[in-house]
Amino acid sequence: MTGASGTNAANAAKDAARLTVLSIGPQVTVQDGGRPGHIAQGLSRGGAADPLALLEAAAVLGLAQPGPGLELAGFGGRFRAGADLRLALTGAPMQAEIEGQRLDWNRAHWLRAGQVLSIGGATAGQYGYLTFAAPLRAPLLLGSPSAHLAAGLGSVLRAGDVLEFGPDPDPALPMIALAVADRFSGGSLRIAPGPQTGLFDASCRARLAETDFRRGAQANRQGMRLEHPGAGFSTAAAAGLVSDFVGPGDVQMTGDGLPYILLAECQTIGGYPRIGTVIGADIPRASQSGPGAPLRFHWVTTDEADRLRPDPQAMLAALRRTARPVIRDPATIPDLLAYQLVGGVTAGDDLDRGK
């Protein structure tokens, strides 16, 4: 390449795509859709605890496919950009700012070269996601950049780490925001029959759906414990039961009859009996429920569960349809006078004519 523009492009490529981790919460990992295909070797798919948040990020950043993001468990960190980076904040809302300017959640933002992005604690929910439009260049471990800490794959981010990115596919895209329904405060989880549902008697299964649960203090990417007043949920078939396949969403009953919902990084085989499986569409709500959040179960049939099966491409298309360009509030524009406010004179009915 020659000429000034070529040199600029080369310089941009050299330090374009860097982000330095200045400080970091204790459980921040790279996550994408996980690595399917290894169940026979005892490795669960893993991936984002709240896969919907990565789809939301793809929608606001205009990405064709959801890419990997940083999963921020409970707390974020401080990050300095080496070049302009377009980013999305999705999942559990967290306190966030760039250079003193507070950032709204569920939308795209620019982090300009040299600026510092600070993300604090979650104000609701468990897992926030920081995703960049520029593709993250992270080493693939068995085909995925996702950390699977239970399997010893990858590690948490540490202060001093430097993330590198390829070129932003669409830097001219306007800033986009999504209106997102609350899935961060517990609520109703639909549960479908699994292989061992029939080992629990009908009254036990009915009682499950009549009980008010709260998310317990114990939770991580492998699963979350629930608590409730009253008797546990048990089956006489538990003793001597052969270990069998388990999957994310399975509601297993440990020895004391307390439900434990398996999540993204669960094992592949387990010995505890499982009363049913929380459907994929409600996994984000389950994963995001914070300590003490109220939870109820609502039984659905296998057919209903299959009809509600998440289709990532359809979900991404639906999210794109609800995405709206961000309308800036002039009060939040720090250098208002620098803006050309009347750059183009129009008849004032552009929006109406657009309909």
């Binding site: 399917p36 295909g37 290894h38 169940i39 026979a40 070797q41 005892g42 490795l43 471990l141 068995l142 239970a150 399997a151 010893g152 794959l153 479908a192 029959p193 699994g194 292989p195 078939a237 001597g240 039961l241 052969v242 270990s243 069998d244 396949f245 999957g247 994310p248 969403g249 399975d250 094992q267 592949t268 085989i269 387990g270 499986t277 459907i279 994929g280 296998t302 569960a305 299959d306 099966r309 998440p310 289709d311």
Partner: protein, 249 residues
């Protein structure tokens, strides 16, 4: 064959849903040689002629798990395509062994702190227990709990001993632990309710190894006794701990 309804194989596996795109074909609720043989026979048939829409398969001790691709088939269509595989003999011959491992292992002492307890529970001397564990022609019945970690079995019926009531806080990577006629070879240090008979330098999963997962379901394994002092020289390197692999295909 026993008449216990928990172990008696139904004429056809139960077809059960697991998650949005999973099907479990369950041949029994308890582990048995017959259940393992049926699982392996079913898996071999499905592997030889995968039904359209099948995306992934795995075996456990008494079930086969299948993932279908909902973009290609509905659950109902997939189940219809599985139907021809379900009529199978209750006692199929054991699947042919394609690969056989011989894994050096030390028993008793520091390497197997609960060998004496296991010998007592199985009513034999420690020497006889070690001889029995090393004579057993074991199969990888399932891989799970941790990546690459095998459930091996089945040991002779006198090894049908329960798990401990209390957990051992930690056994090291390579620990060989025993319960319910099975041996688990721990991939990583772990708590366990099973009793530790021995230890080996074989690591079933190393992410950076050319073949990260050493074992496959159906592999045959035999343990070759070595002195505890010899284990140190087998540690590290490719993580195979001096194991020998013969291909019988």
């Amino acid at each position: 064959m026993t008449d216990d309804p928990q172990t008696r194989s139904p004429t056809r596996p139960e077809i059960l849903p697991l998650g949005p795109d999973g099907v479990v074909l369950r041949v029994a609720l308890r582990a048995s040689d017959a259940a393992s043989a049926r699982v392996q026979a079913l898996a071999a048939a499905l592997r030889a002629a995968p039904p359209q829409g099948m995306a992934e398969m795995a075996t456990a001790l008494a079930s086969v798990w299948l993932r279908f691709d909902p973009a290609l088939v509905s659950r109902a269509e997939f189940l219809a395509r599985l139907s021809p595989f379900l009529d199978m003999p209750a006692d199929p011959p054991p699947a042919p062994v394609l690969r056989r491992w011989t894994v050096p292992a030390a028993f008793g002492g520091q390497a197997g702190p609960q060998l004496a307890e296991l010998a007592a529970l199985t009513g034999q001397t420690e020497a006889a227990a070690v001889a029995g564990l090393c004579a057993a022609d074991l199969r990888v019945l399932a891989i799970g709990f941790a990546p690459g970690q095998p459930y091996l079995g089945l040991l002779p019926p006198d090894w049908d001993i329960p798990r401990q009531t209390a957990l051992t806080p930690q056994v090291p990577a390579g620990a060989l632990v025993v319960a319910v006629r099975q041996v688990v070879l721990f991939a990583n240090a772990s708590a366990t309710g099973w009793r530790q008979a021995g230890r080996c330098a074989f690591r079933p999963f190393l992410p950076d190894r050319a073949q990260p997962f050493a074992l496959r379901a159906g592999d045959a394994i035999r343990f070759a006794p070595v002195a505890e002092a010899e284990l140190a020289a087998l540690e590290g390197g490719d993580g195979l701990g001096g194991a020998r692999l013969e291909s019988l295909a």
